[in-house]
Symmetry: C2
């Protein structure tokens, strides 16, 4: 197992969580994959819960947990309908996930995140910036909403919409929060000789 997680921005979130007086309970929405960042919180003494909509990603995590003997408490679930009571978690995050739906669904997921978060609890959410070019062949069906060609993502076929946000557009989701950190990251990668640009807008916010 790699000692350091790939999801570097969550290291910053962990630092904010560690500084909070609330109890150490954390939820990851879209938690699956072969290197689940929840393990960073587990190793730091948190009680972790993760939900994941994709069976493929869930199975990757199951395999990872079995290999390294970890209990992350992850199960199948949809961040638009979180199966938890109000104010269950001190900390909630969704990393590189919430953009994979329409803006209407993003708003629903954000209200769910707010609902299950305790007062003074912290959330981390990142959005894909409109600076990032859409997928090849994707069609803009609404401003910042792109319908991709039939690319099933990790076994999840619908709705195949990606949402992109202007710099301050996601601010609207944090009206009952205090934003404690906001960062836009523009990453250049060279993939097969071509320059590829990725751009994210990260928020760390405290529920009022």
């Amino acid at each position: 197992m790699r000692k350091v997680i790939r999801a570097t921005p969550l290291c910053k979130f962990l630092r904010y969580c560690n500084d909070s007086p609330l109890d150490k309970t954390v939820l990851d929405c879209g938690a699956g994959g072969d290197d689940p960042p929840l393990r960073l919180f587990l190793e730091s003494g948190y009680k972790t819960v993760g939900i994941e909509i994709s069976e493929v990603s869930l199975n990757e995590t199951r395999k990872f947990c079995k290999e390294f003997g970890l209990r992350l408490n992850m199960f199948k679930g949809d961040m638009r309908k979180l199966p938890f009571k109000n104010e269950t978690f001190s900390f909630v995050y969704t990393y590189n996930s919430i953009h994979m739906m329409s803006k209407k669904n993003v708003a629903v997921a954000m209200s769910e995140i707010k609902r299950v978060l305790k007062t003074n609890g912290l959330c981390f959410v990142n959005f894909v910036s409109a600076d990032e070019p859409p997928h090849a062949g994707a069609v803009e069906i609404n401003k910042g909403e792109f319908l991709k060609k039939d690319i099933p993502w990790h076994g999840v076929k619908c709705p195949n919409i990606d949402s992109y946000f202007e710099d301050d557009a996601p601010d609207v989701y944090f009206s009952n929060f205090k934003v404690v950190h906001k960062e836009k990251r523009i990453i250049e990668r060279i993939i097969e000789g071509k320059k590829v640009l990725q751009a994210y807008i990260d928020y760390i916010a405290k529920k009022k």
Copy 2:
């Protein structure tokens, strides 16, 4: 001691270093302060060396090391003239430091970093982006070089010049490197009710 360092981008650098086959020796140029990120490498099994030009920052680190019983091997030094033989270190970084000099001096420091780095060794360097507004009252004496008012920085009075870089301008320093990660980060903070913008261009590069 906080479990997680403030300098999040160095978590990403550590991940790249951990994946390298080279021996675990790391140099931090501008290593001082009250929360030295070198401790992240020490805790991860690296042999650490740090140099720092400011006595004030050095004393902060000495106090920190004494309190927590750490040996970081830090001493006074100037990154424009590194007191090490060629190809001494597998990994070299300078974090939030190299912008505090003229571009001529930045070029000297970059050639020193390259010199002391082993072939296939990795460096992390971040620059301040021209997107960040200069200090209040600073005067642009050359393109992207600002002479600050008489603000001694941690006991270091001269030369009081900050350098700012356009997006691809630092590429020139990496002509004998392969850039493995490049990221621009734009951070909004609210300080005393005012929006403050910070902007960095981070490079992780492998020496050819």
